[in-house]
């Protein structure tokens, strides 16, 4: 494999991994933009999305006989809807009972509450998932249903192999970004979100129900995280109650990298982070380029950005008030 092919191969791997980070990162950034809370339980919302999709598959009777076009056109969307429903429900409950009562408390309180929710959700899935009749225990990894036509499929493009899971992940990010743009810029709720993030008190004077806007922010973030959860399941073929921890941390890194509070920044930050990881494991020589070091490079990137460009690549939300 020549150097150009190797570079292109890693670029595609990086963009695919980065899309996964970006889908999760949007949730951190949207919520932060509106309530200035780093929702450390968001990684678990991503995990819940994967387990919700799995539960949907179980409830459908573990179908394995779906073939290529229908599996992608029907089975996969159904799993995604199930995952999204689970994530959004859990995220809204979290907002209502763990964060809303602390909205006027010192900033540290909701942060600690978020860490508590994160541990709670991980443990709840670990201990109780297997208690649902017919469900496998989630104390170790569970194999994720395969979608014929995506799972394990790939095509050659020149000297480069493109996994269908990569196409799905990048495609999902592209579609979600378009929808998100439309939602934020063209719907009334979206406009209310922008207004609330710029000046919550004045937004309330306009007649905006800020509670609803905050719920919308949590719901949108959770929906994208659930889609990422399904993408993760397809990509790695299994899911695990701990999967939200590292993925959440990486996605948080991506959000900070792009400028926390900035939606475009989260997308760019996710993609940059994914590509940097993929490139580092290929082009850094010796043991420092081994797969074991990829997380190190990801967080080195975070530290460099925080030191030299603390507002992030695209700039954080600028508080600008007369």
């Amino acid at each position: 494999m020549d150097l150009l092919d190797l570079f292109l191969q890693q670029l595609i791997n990086g963009l695919s991994l980065g899309s996964l980070y970006a889908l999760i990162a949007v949730g951190y950034t949207v919520v932060y933009g509106i309530v200035q809370l780093i929702n450390f339980a968001h990684g678990e919302i991503f995990m819940i999305g994967a387990f919700g999709a799995y539960a949907t598959w179980m409830l459908m009777g573990q179908p394995t006989d779906w073939n290529a076009p229908m599996s992608i056109l029907v089975l996969l969307p159904v799993l995604i809807i199930g995952g999204v429903a689970a994530s959004v429900t859990v995220a809204l409950l979290t907002e209502r009972y763990a964060y809303r009562p602390l909205r006027n408390a010192p900033r540290l309180a909701p942060l600690i509450s978020a860490i508590g929710v994160s541990v709670f959700l991980q443990e709840a899935v670990r201990l109780f998932y297997g208690e649902i009749p017919g469900f496998p225990t989630a104390k170790s990894a569970i194999p994720f249903p395969s979608i014929p036509g995506i799972s394990g499929s790939a095509f050659q493009f020149g000297g480069v192999t493109v996994q269908m899971t990569a196409v799905f992940t990048v495609g999902a990010l592209a579609v979600c970004t378009v929808f998100l743009w439309f939602f934020v810029n063209r719907t009334k709720t979206g406009r209310a979100m922008i207004a609330t993030s710029q000046d919550p008190d004045t937004a309330r004077l306009m007649g905006i129900n800020v509670d609803k806007v905050i719920m919308a922010a949590f719901a949108v973030g959770a929906a994208l995280a659930a889609i990422a959860g399904v993408a993760h399941g397809l990509r790695y073929s299994n899911i695990d109650f701990r999967m939200g921890f590292l993925a959440g941390l990486k996605a948080f890194t991506a959000a900070v990298l792009g400028g926390i509070g900035n939606i475009n920044g989260a997308v760019v930050g996710g993609l940059v982070l994914g590509v940097v990881e993929a490139m580092a494991t290929t082009f850094i020589p010796g043991q420092f380029g081994s797969a074991a070091w990829k997380d190190v490079w990801a967080f080195v990137l975070l530290i460099l950005v925080l030191v030299f460009r603390p507002q992030g690549l695209l700039g954080a939300k600028v508080v600008d008030r007369a």
Binding site: K188, R191, A192, I194, A195, Q198, D199, D201, T202, A203, R204, L205, M206, G207, I208, N209, V210, D211, D320, R321, A322
Partner: protein, 235 residues
């Protein structure tokens, strides 16, 4: 129309408003006068539901308002143009006005009211696509008032609309308030510029450190020695 009874509002443990009672009659222009820290903005913020009173009652058209969330109070027909204008500076004039009409569903009525704001303040109409932050102080104040008018309020509360404006601009704003009153809008005006506010107010209340110290008609307050000494710089 609006009745405030024994209102007490606190920031933490410090009472900013210490039991004030006043009322605003339908169609009137009523002004609250007082120096910095007298509790004027705190009073308006409580009426709008941004602050929860410690005690006391706020009644509007026979309905009790205190305890309602801010967006419900806007739906009842009370708008506020806050101190410092608080425009959405990166958004265009038009988007600011649209947000002002957030609680409304009648698209055609919103369009008509937007045209009315542009008639009242032609400079806003000419530059409707420009970001609000690019306008001068006076123009921004026009936009802030226009934005508050967009929800078709029965009661419009204006917090320091003349702050930072030239005397000519202040006159324009005061003339606008007069026109709004003629259109049937009731106005509660908070001002430090006592001369301007009292010359158009039907009634004025003077606040000092959280208490109403006296009240009278605008004309009488203009001639009142205490007011002249403290707020009009006469000796």
């Amino acid at each position: 129309m609006l009745e405030v009874k024994d209102l007490v509002v606190a920031y933490g443990r410090v009472n900013a408003v210490k039991g004030i009672t006043f009322e605003v009659g339908k169609g009137q222009v009523v002004t609250l006068l007082g120096t910095n820290g007298a509790g004027k903005s705190t009073t308006l913020r409580s009426i709008s539901g941004l602050l929860k009173p410690v005690s006391g009652e706020i009644w509007f058209e026979g309905e009790r308002l205190d305890g309602l969330p801010a967006h419900k109070i806007v739906e009842r027909g009370i708008a506020q143009s806050p101190e410092g204008r608080r425009l959405f500076r990166q958004m265009s004039v038009e988007d600011n006005l649209k947000l002002g009409a957030f609680s409304r569903k009648d698209t055609s009525g919103v369009k008509a009211d937007m045209d009315r704001v542009y008639d009242l303040f032609p400079v806003l109409g000419e530059r409707r696509t420009e970001a609000a932050g690019l306008f001068s102080g006076g123009e921004q104040q026009m936009l802030a008032i226009g934005r508050a008018m967009m929800c078709r309020p029965k009661l419009l509360m204006l917090d320091e609309p003349s702050m930072g404006l030239s005397p000519i601009m202040t006159q324009t704003i005061m003339r606008t308030i007069k026109e709004l009153q003629a259109d049937g809008v009731t106005i509660l005006l908070v001002e430090q510029n006592a001369q301007a506010a009292l010359s158009l107010a039907d009634k004025g209340y003077v606040l000092e450190v959280g208490h109403i110290v006296f009240s009278d008609s605008g004309r009488n307050l203009l001639g009142d020695d205490r007011v002249r000494r403290t707020y009009l710089g006469a000796d």
